[in-house]
Symmetry: C2
Subunit: 282 residues, 2 copies
């Protein structure tokens, strides 16, 4: 089937309704474009479950802070289309900002508590921007399953909470983080990194892997492990730590002792670039 690229909501609905009437299961991968192998893995996962896969490409202005990188965020649209084509995507929804936020737009969807800690503490309006646009995109596509990457750990948790709280009738699925061979988690923002900044950025996965390996070897001293993670980051030139924490994977509360369902999560700045990463602990 040929890949279709549309800008209008009505075109998405028409294509999705058509596919559904043909008996297809609908999968959806919302993105901001600048697609990389992390996104492709979501599309492939969607293709395994669904005959008709929709990808949205929309750099959502409301999830960027006033001093953040909205304007310089990469928008390599032709390349994105080619990646979708290769991954067997059926439809790209590539709306103009005015289509998503027409004049007079007034609605906010917010998940309290979970949205104000960690990333939310450093990016105050970020998650409200995310949840509002995701609720819109979910309603536009009405996919049977929508796929998010675990790399944005707090985001996928907040979106799942929103969908549960608002009784969204379809499924949300989280997929594994994809890494480069050197360990760096795939991110559209990695293109900002100079070679030496990229070297500094490797400290995130190094710190996370260290904690995971330590826990696997029987170390249960969560506070000491958190300190070790912090030391790895602080000992790396050019890295400024926003947070490096071991947290409960469901509540996001900082853990003071070992418990089931822990995640180690890190956010740092390397030069002008903010990097986040996380790992599920055994």
């Amino acid at each position: 089937m040929e890949l279709q690229v549309v800008e209008q909501i009505a075109e998405v609905r028409q294509a999705v309704n058509g596919a559904r009437q043909r008996g297809s299961r609908i999968g959806f991968v919302p993105t901001m474009g600048a697609l990389h192998s992390g996104h492709v893995s979501l599309m492939e996962e969607a293709r395994r479950d669904c005959e008709f896969v929709v990808v949205s490409i929309f750099v959502n202005p409301t999830q960027f802070g006033p001093k953040e990188d909205l304007n310089k965020y990469p928008r390599p649209f032709e390349n994105d289309v080619a990646l979708c084509q290769g991954a067997g995507v059926s439809l790209i929804f590539h709306p103009q900002p005015v289509t998503i936020y027409p004049p007079g737009f007034k609605t906010r969807v917010e998940v309290t508590g979970l949205s104000s800690v960690w990333e939310g503490a450093f990016r105050p309006e970020h998650f409200c921007g995310v949840t509002t646009v995701v609720m819109k995109l979910l309603n536009i596509v009405q996919a049977d399953v929508t796929y998010f990457g675990r790399k944005d750990f707090q985001q996928q948790l907040i979106i799942k909470q929103m969908c549960q709280d608002l009784d969204w009738p379809y499924a949300i699925q989280t997929c594994a983080t994809i890494r480069d061979p050197d360990g760096l988690a795939k991110s559209s923002r990695n293109v900002y990194l100079s070679p030496s900044e990229r070297q500094s950025g490797l400290s995130l996965s190094r710190a996370l892997f260290h904690v995971r390996d330590q826990i696997q070897s029987g170390n249960r001293d969560v506070l000491q492990l958190q300190q070790a993670m912090r030391q790895i980051l602080d000992g790396t030139p050019g890295v400024i730590v926003d947070y490096a924490a071991i947290i409960n994977s469901d509540t996001l509360a900082a853990a003071t002792e070992y418990q089931p369902a822990l995640t180690a999560a890190i956010a740092v700045r390397v030069g002008a670039t903010r990097l986040i990463d996380n790992i599920e602990l055994p």
Copy 2:
């Protein structure tokens, strides 16, 4: 078809999916119970368009202020069921509060601007409570058309704005206010009124009809008409006015001159009871 009464979300979904598979169009009337002929007119409107009509009966705690009438709000459930039966309703959704707000519930849906004026100025969290629960109920029922009464004018406008902003894929329909023969707008709260309070309450429709009649007779002096409305209310013993205004029906902005799409809207207190009413101006 027999009227079914259910408490669980999964039961609603199963019944609605069954009806849809049988080719039925689904109509939905969300209510807080204490049903009266205003609600019945919504159900009848739904029955004209839809083979399968769902009514929800849920006294939503989050839309009551801390000093409001949540606990004494009337809950004549048996009578409500009989009214639904008589109106040809197929399914009553009558959830427990814990079903709607399970432990850990965290999400807020808010329509900014429209929610903070008029009713919102007197009931600060009211509309956020309304929009959040309505978004949930819409997702639970997934009706082709959901019906609201014009008597809650600001509410239906805010809900329409929410649905438009969030790309809710189905229709929202507003139906006319139903009045008693003496002019009092039907409301579940009218049962609170003593006979003399009810007499005072008639000042609302009297003031609204006066403005409508004046405009129909060619009077275009909006500010003078607003004053006249206020005089009728202020001249009625036992009435304390919260607001009495002529407003733009789309933006809710107070009108200073005649324009298309005006609404006259009133809120007063009569004893311990708060009454609202409104009328579309010609």
